[in-house]
């Protein structure tokens, strides 16, 4: 039973499912932010963690980074590096939400749209779940990767 659970938890196919989910999630989240950069900039500013001179830059760079990472996850390209970036972004988001929850700031998450429900501990839990999925993908994802398709044979070359 335990082995079966362990096999299930370490299954590359489960990692593939998480990878596709996270990839789609990030692509979806980035689409709105890219089109409404001003609103996303306001959302970032509402967290009151970024210096005001860096907020706009972050509002421009972060959605494109998310959409690139999401696309690479969907395609299975540089999965480990992408999961590190996504894990880092999710950790920052979670930490920011956590801090603002402690501040009792009346802000929404801004993860997908400008107008959303205010942040809550459920939001933190959701982000932590996504972080767990990212870690799973980082360690167990190995199927249906474009890298594997093109570079798998080269990996067998030994010096």
């Amino acid at each position: 039973m335990t082995a079966a659970i362990r096999a299930l938890l370490t299954s590359p196919w489960l990692a593939l499912a998480f990878r596709l989910y996270l990839g789609g999630l990030f692509v979806y989240a980035a689409m709105y932010k890219i089109n409404y950069a001003a609103e996303f900039s306001t959302t970032i500013a509402s967290y009151r963690l970024i210096p005001y001179w860096a907020v706009n830059v972050m509002a421009l760079v972060m959605p494109w980074t998310e959409i690139i990472c999401g696309a690479m996850l969907l395609l299975g390209v540089r999965v480990k590096s992408v999961t590190v970036i996504i894990g880092g972004l999710l950790s920052v988001f979670t930490l920011a939400i956590f801090i603002n929850l402690l501040r009792n700031a009346p802000i929404s998450c801004g993860c997908f749209h400008t107008l959303e429900d205010p942040i809550s501990w459920w939001t933190v839990l959701r982000d932590l779940t996504w972080i767990g999925m990212t870690v799973h993908v980082h360690y167990f994802d190995s199927v249906l990767q474009t890298d594997q398709l093109f570079l798998g044979k080269l990996r067998r070359i030994h010096t």
Binding site: I50, Y52, N56, T65, C69, I85, L151, R155
Partner: protein
């Protein structure tokens, strides 16, 4: 010889002068009898009657030791007594002349006479006198005489006579001994002369042999000296032929040398027609010479040996004229022949070369073969060296090519290792988190974001306007409270509505930037532009107050002021006191 009987008177009746005359005559006769050259033994034999006669003695004997030989003579003694002295005579001599005594010189005789001698066991019975004579150099004599016939003892005169006779005998023995020595010396000298003549003859023959050997050795030496500096086989053949002709006195000659294969022939000739050489190197000449080797059968010279061709018919069968010919064999299948013709002596018989000349010819040919063999070995070594040098060049070329190939292989191997390591590293980077990939992704995101923002109509400023705009007029919170109370200034909260609802300055109007136009038209459009507007609301991420104040100034408001410290500074003033 005279005797007392021959004298007119008997001895006993002679006068003194007559006796002396008689004794002198006796001495004279004894001297005459012993003066003839004779051997000592003959003298002794002749002396006994000469001495016994004048004295009238009954017997006498003599023992002579000369040159190690003992001679016994007796007269008047019975045979047994004479035989006794043949056995013991030497002891009797040694009794008078001991063996270990120093060599005696010639001396006068010693006479022993008396009655006691007649009873001496070493002497014959009745011996009246004994005389001992020494001639020196190992020649001694002992004489013994019996009594007188008359039975009377010897008187003094007779004793002197006996002494004189003994002296005569001594001189005669000395002379005989000397003569014998002279004879021996003559004999020895003659023998030595003969030996010397023989030795002289042998010496002459040895000198002649030595001269011949010297000549041969000189010829060998000169021939060797001529050939030693020549390293070409052709030159050696020519030099040797010339030397051989000079040494053995021939006016013509040739040498032919044939190798193991056809066409390998060398020949030289001197004093002969030029066509002889062509004949020698031709196949016909080769066949004629090699046929002589076959004809020799079991006498074929083996390697580095030579043999003279003694048979005139065999010499005639050679390809060129040869009054003397030699066949020789070198190693490695090389064979050849030497022919000499037309001797200076003009003789043309079978014994043209004597034994010395044949031996010299053998030695010269042997030396020639050694030199020729060395030259051929040198040629072979040269060829091998040339071949070795060529192979060394090829080997060096191959080695250089191999070294170059090895360098190329090393370079290619390093390149391959580098490429494989690079590919491997790059491939492995795909399956691990790489800072390079992360940086590239972030860089791509930043680039795309900025480019998209620049090309998008709804793009935002990369740098906030509040950062570049002139600094707004700021007032302290206390001054702001006085203006609000005295000049009826309007307090504007520029923060988003949610933050306004959480807390704000009393009577403040919420004017967030995103709802600016709507709220302004609803609440502030009728306001006198001269009324002071006190704006607040900023945090680390956004300067709401500055943005809203700038828009208010654009709408014509003359006094827009920012409260320094915002809500926190206002709340820090405490509750407002009633006027």
């Amino acid at each position: 010889m005279i005797s007392p009987k021959d004298t007119p008177d008997a001895p006993g009746s002679l006068t003194g002068t007559d006796r002396q005359l008689f004794h002198l005559k006796s001495l004279y006769e004894a001297s005459s009898a012993l003066a003839v050259p004779a051997r000592p033994a003959d003298l002794l034999r002749a002396f006994l009657p000469v001495a016994m006669g004048p004295l009238g003695l009954t017997f006498g004997f003599g023992i002579l030791l000369h040159a190690g030989a003992l001679t016994i003579e007796s007269l008047g003694l019975q045979p047994p007594a004479a035989d006794l002295y043949r056995a013991s005579g030497l002891d009797l001599v040694h009794k008078f002349f001991p063996e270990d005594a120093a060599p005696a010189h010639p001396s006068r005789p010693v006479i022993l006479a008396g009655e006691h001698l007649s009873h001496d066991p070493n002497l014959p019975m009745g011996t009246a006198a004994v005389i001992a004579l020494s001639m020196g150099a190992g020649t001694h004599a002992v004489l013994g005489f019996g009594p007188k016939v008359a039975g009377v003892p010897l008187d003094a005169d007779e004793t002197r006579l006996l002494d004189g006779l003994a002296s005569v005998l001594g001189h005669a023995l000395n002379n005989a001994t000397a003569m014998e020595c002279v004879r021996d010396l003559n004999t020895s000298l003659a023998r030595r002369n003969d030996d010397l003549h023989r030795a002289l003859g042998e010496s002459e023959r040895a000198r002649e042999a030595l001269s011949r050997h010297t000549l041969q050795l000189r010829a060998l030496y000169e021939t060797t000296l001529e050939m030693i500096d020549i390293h070409e086989p052709g030159g050696i053949l020519d030099a040797f032929l010339l030397s051989l002709m000079g040494t053995l006195s021939f006016t013509g000659g040739w040498i032919a040398l044939y190798g193991p294969g056809h066409g390998r022939a060398e020949a030289v000739c001197r004093g002969l027609a030029p066509c002889v050489r062509e004949e020698l190197v031709s196949e016909t000449g080769r066949g004629a010479v090699l046929a002589r080797f076959v004809a020799l059968k079991d006498r074929i010279p083996h390697a580095n040996h030579a043999c003279l061709v003694d048979d005139p018919e065999e010499r005639q069968a050679l390809p060129a004229q040869a009054d003397a010919a030699v066949l020789f064999t070198l190693d490695q299948g090389w064979q050849g022949a030497i022919g000499l013709s037309a001797p200076l002596s003009g003789e043309r018989d079978d014994e043209l070369l004597d034994e010395d000349a044949r031996q010299l010819l053998h030695s010269l040919v042997a030396n020639f073969m050694v030199t020729l063999g060395n030259a051929r070995q040198l040629d072979l070594i040269r060829e091998l060296n040339s071949e070795l040098a060529a192979r060394n060049v090829d080997l060096q070329t191959t080695l250089d090519a191999l070294t170059s190939a090895k360098r190329e292989i090393d370079v290619q191997t390093k390149a391959k290792e580098h490429l494989v390591a690079l590919v491997h590293g790059e491939v492995e980077r795909v399956w691990r988190a790489s800072w390079l990939d992360i940086c590239l992704i972030l860089l791509a995101g930043a680039t795309l974001g900025i480019l998209y923002n620049l090309s998008s109509p709804g793009g935002i400023d990369l740098v906030p306007k509040s950062l570049l705009a002139p600094p707004p007029v700021m007032i302290e919170a206390a001054e702001a409270r006085r203006l609000a109370r005295d000049d009826k200034a309007v307090i504007i909260d520029a923060r988003p509505g949610d933050f306004f609802l959480q807390g704000h300055i009393p009577d403040a109007v919420n004017l967030p930037e995103d709802l600016f136009e709507f709220v302004y038209s609803m609440k502030l459009s009728d306001l006198d532009p001269a009324v002071p507007l006190l704006v607040y609301g900023r945090n680390i991420s956004r300067r709401y107050d500055a943005d809203v104040a700038r828009q208010l100034e654009l709408l014509g408001h003359e006094r827009v002021l920012l409260i320094k410290g915002g809500l926190d500074a206002w709340n820090g003033l405490g509750p407002e006191e009633a006027p």
